[in-house]
Subunit: 205 residues, 2 copies
């Protein structure tokens, strides 16, 4: 089974990279579908699931709590039981169906034993802000400062939920096979080269 996982900074175009790679390679593509499947499995609300998975478990606690007190936090403040187990089950089920590209949701770590190709997509802050404004009309109402804060907040959540599971920190080169910086880059034009790299990597593996 050939699995490509795409981890990405918010606004870096990781989703577009994942979608285009899936088209090029002829692989199935999973992104938002994962949240929907977890909702079905756990009977929880999709928004709640997305927030919990993307924002990191620790962010469910009030920030004044030190991590060392985590054991004393009342159960009501921890994420709904089963949500992490469902995330693992859904991602493993997807991976068993056939060659695929999976965007986010810690699939790189959850599927570690299947030796996926792990791609990380990043960009500098101004490129990410530009991309956000182009893609999401609701971001146009934000000031530059607000948009930058939003981007940093989302990435902080991704980092937290990743780092609980992984041996290397989120975005650390050592945890990925390729890190691509999309600053000032036309994504469509670079896809054939990334795709070629990935095909060669699987051929060797």
């Amino acid at each position: 089974m050939k699995i490509v996982t795409v981890s990405r900074e918010f606004g870096s175009g990781g989703r577009e990279v994942g979608k285009r790679l899936a088209d090029l390679l002829g692989f199935a593509y999973y992104d938002r579908e994962i949240i929907t499947a977890i909702a079905e499995k756990s009977s929880l609300d999709e928004d709640y699931i997305e927030k919990t998975i993307e924002s990191g478990i620790t962010r469910s606690y009030p920030i004044t709590f030190s991590h060392s007190f985590a054991a004393y936090i009342p159960a009501a403040m921890t994420p709904a039981p089963g949500i992490i187990a469902s995330q693992h089950a859904v991602i493993k089920e997807i991976a068993s169906k056939g060659d695929c590209v999976i965007v986010g949701r810690c699939a790189d770590v959850i599927l570690e034993d299947l030796n996926p190709f792990r791609l990380f997509v990043c960009a500098d802050m101004s490129s990410k802000m530009n991309r956000c404004r182009l893609r999401a009309p609701e971001d146009e109402k934000l000031t530059d400062r607000e948009l930058e804060r939003k981007i940093k907040r989302i990435d902080k959540g991704r980092k937290e939920s990743h780092d609980i599971l992984a041996s290397y920190p989120w975005g650390d080169r050592r945890g990925y096979d390729l890190c691509v910086n999309t600053s000032g880059v036309d994504i469509k034009a670079i896809i054939p080269h990334i795709g070629g790299y990935i095909e060669e990597w699987f051929k060797q593996g």
Copy 2:
């Protein structure tokens, strides 16, 4: 002018990547030549220059000194004056001559204003150890533990000399356009894809 800088972990095959990329792209290739040129400019010994540039300035001090006392360290213990200035002058001179690939020596930071394509090459420890043993017969005498310590010591030096100059730490994805993990990868076979990516990147720039 098209400039590709290759930063690399010791044993990751960064040198081979750089050489093969230069051949593919038809660019000049610089590595050890930089040290020779600095030696000519500064009338200092090549080995001394290599040690100073690769190992980082702070490593010239006894390790018992705290960094905060650096100002009180006798002049004799700081690197020979002019060595850093010569490094900058030599690398800038090389870059002005034409399209090139430059391996190491902080060229990514020194040439920042010329907007080089910044490549980072890494690999996991066991791949780096294998590569070292294959390439350097003298490493065969080392135990695994000694070889691992050697690799870490050299990379620590590279990190230190880089981080004095740069805005992002050595090996941090944000300071590079592409980070390639060569663990278990046949370098020769991936070069066309990295080269294609770089050519497309320059076309867009």
